[in-house]
């Protein structure tokens, strides 16, 4: 599975969204991505890439796109 696929899967499984809804998705943009959903999503992303993010990055992880930016810049996950 490519990194993009893993990343998408984490979103789709924790937030129960389909792939075509992912682009432009933001924190609190849908009911499932609230603060509870966020912690579940962070856990799924960390599991998918076997990383542990810093607290500030968890706070800044505010959208589907922003998450990719954080992962590629700070955790060497290439998309």
């Amino acid at each position: 599975m490519s990194n993009k696929e893993k990343y998408n899967q984490a979103f789709m499984e924790t937030l129960e969204v389909s792939e075509n809804e992912l682009a432009g998705l933001t924190y609190t943009g849908i009911p499932a991505w609230d603060s509870v959903g966020h912690m579940a999503l962070m856990a799924a992303v960390e599991d998918a890439f076997d990383i542990m993010m810093e607290t500030d990055d968890i706070i800044d992880f505010s959208s589907y796109e922003k998450g990719m930016e954080i992962l590629s810049k700070k955790y060497d996950v290439e998309f």
Partner: protein, 374 residues
């Protein structure tokens, strides 16, 4: 307005009284001006006590400081919708803990304020736990964060601290029974690692400590000597059970080796600016907020060592006018810039709720309901 990000770069306990007064006054005057311009109800209240743009200009000199700014009674957030951003920018509404039948505060957050709350809390708590995230044992039941529509302060507290957890485990079942198997499994999986424990004081005492004592008699023990416990939410119920802070700590050490224990004081109306207890048992104000003790007779500033009503000020609130609030708690300043732990700023203790004030605090409201249910 100066961006909060600049302020956030400060170390949490780095400023002495003089430095802090300057930074705090600048920020709180800016916030007051911001809310005057963006919250009509706040403006009307401030105008009625003689505070307007012109009066605010007097704060530019050295003479007037944040001690001279007005405060709102915290109870007002139950009665009024106080919001300084348009409705469509409100992205989360926080509610205070309240026992069944009590009215609750409503705090309106936009993205910026919510983010700043989280970042501030991370800065403050990291001073005590270290910056890395660690396995986290939550002394509560999983259902407390599941009711998403009505998000309680208890759930919010748990989620706020979840930021520090890597792997998480809830120690209690939804029936508030200790989940011995899960806890055992969790501790085995993280042997030798530093573990963060978080919960509300009464829940820890009632459903965790007492159960550990019972299990110990049966020969079942847990080793939590690698743990750091952060707990909060009120002492009232335990004061009734005649358990002092010292005893709470000592008994936890005795039963499971847990010795790194920190109480905290905080409220939903100023989320983010929590007051952590240091290793000398003192609650500390960080550079991002402060406590001022007011004499109940005339609301003048009480000298250090004299008990009075606690006023809290916070640099964070932009989306609601909650930067200066009079609480319903009584406390006393123990000292400033000279705690033996080395942290700058005020250190203080809470005496309890004011008489006739409502029961609040996540731990206390749970305890009150617990008692009602028998």
């Amino acid at each position: 307005m100066k961006s909060y990000d600049e302020l956030l770069a400060m170390e949490p306990y780095s400023l002495n009284k003089k430095e802090k007064t300057k930074v705090m006054t600048d920020r709180l005057v800016e916030l007051t001006r911001h809310h005057l311009g963006n919250c009509e109800q706040y403006k009307r209240m401030m105008n009625s006590v003689g505070l307007d743009e012109k009066a605010l200009a007097e704060f530019d000199g050295e003479e007037k400081t944040y001690y001279d700014l007005p405060f709102l009674p915290v109870r007002l957030f139950k009665e009024l919708k106080l919001c300084s951003v348009p409705d469509d920018e409100v992205f989360k509404t926080m509610t205070s803990s309240g026992t069944t039948g009590q009215s609750v505060s409503r705090i309106f957050l936009d993205r910026a304020t919510a983010t700043n709350q989280q970042k501030t809390m991370v800065k403050i708590v990291s001073e005590f736990t270290g910056s890395g995230r660690m396995p986290m044992l939550i002394i509560d039941c999983p259902s407390v964060v599941k009711n998403r529509a009505m998000f309680s302060a208890r759930g919010a507290g748990i989620l706020g601290f979840s930021m520090f957890g890597s792997k998480k485990c809830y120690a209690l079942t939804d029936d508030m029974e200790l989940d011995v198997e899960s806890v055992r499994e969790f501790l085995d999986a993280h042997k030798g690692e530093k573990i963060l424990l978080f919960g509300f004081t009464f829940m820890i005492w009632q459903h965790f400590y007492k159960e550990l004592v019972r299990l110990k008699k049966e020969g079942i023990t847990f080793d939590l000597s690698n743990g750091v416990l952060i707990h909060g939410g009120g002492w009232k119920k335990l004061v009734n059970e005649a358990v002092s802070q010292e005893e709470f700590k000592q008994r936890l050490t005795d039963v499971c080796g847990l010795s790194d224990v920190h109480d905290y004081y905080g409220m939903v109306e100023q989320t983010g600016c929590i007051y952590m207890q240091c290793e000398h048992g003192h609650l500390h104000a960080s550079v991002f907020s402060d406590v001022i003790i007011r004499d109940p007779k005339d609301f003048s500033v009480a000298p250090h060592g004299q008990a009075g009503i606690i006023q809290v000020v916070s640099m964070i609130p932009e989306s609601y006018p909650g930067h200066s609030l009079l609480t319903e708690d009584e406390g006393v300043i123990l000292g400033e810039d000279d705690c033996p732990c080395g942290r700058m700023g005020k250190y203080f203790k809470i005496n309890g709720r004011l008489k006739n004030a409502e029961i609040r605090g996540c731990s206390d409201t749970y305890a009150a309901d617990f008692k009602q249910r028998g």
